[in-house]
Symmetry: C2
Subunit: 72 residues, 2 copies
DNA sequence: GCAGTATGTCAAGCATACTTGGCACATTGG
DNA sequence: CCAATGTGCCAAGTATGCTTGACATACTGC
């Protein structure tokens, strides 16, 4: 699951900690999503997309994900 | 987390079992999402939205959710 | 009455999202 | 030199998405 969280966050001039607080999650959660350790929940994905003013599909690329085969 | 999965599924003339198979998940998963027992993962939400030809935001309403207070 | 289909729900188990708290490293500026 | 800031990562614990398998209900048509 590719995502553009890091690029969008930097475009907003925010740190991981600041974005985390804005989303109501921990810094570790934002960091883990940015580096691809796991994919966010739907509520968090909606929250991030809304925050960045973009549709969820533009922030998260489920199509050409590189990661290991089986999804969900 | 409100969603329009049931309405969209019926609009496609499908059963829960058929939609489940199309999404690659169990019937129980589709049923649980429709009746609001839990919200789907982001990959499944993207898959459902893509299947119905709608943006994720139109299938899942995070804004006016009725469910129990704290999110994520 | 009985079989088949569609739905709702439960329990137990596994996978994973998210938490707190901590540590390491690099960069920057006093 | 030293402190502060930003980032990456780890461990252990909790919450929840998803699974299989099963059972109950209702409806339909033979």
């Amino acid at each position: 699951m590719l995502n553009h969280v890091r690029a969008l966050r930097k475009k907003h001039g925010m740190t991981q900690a600041a974005l985390a607080e804005a989303m109501g999650v921990s810094r570790n959660t934002i960091n883990s999503i940015e580096v691809g350790r796991y994919v966010p929940s739907l509520p968090l994905a909606l929250c991030l997309a809304r925050f960045f003013g973009k549709p969820v599909e533009e922030v998260f690329d489920d199509q050409h994900e590189q990661s290991s085969s089986h999804n969900l």
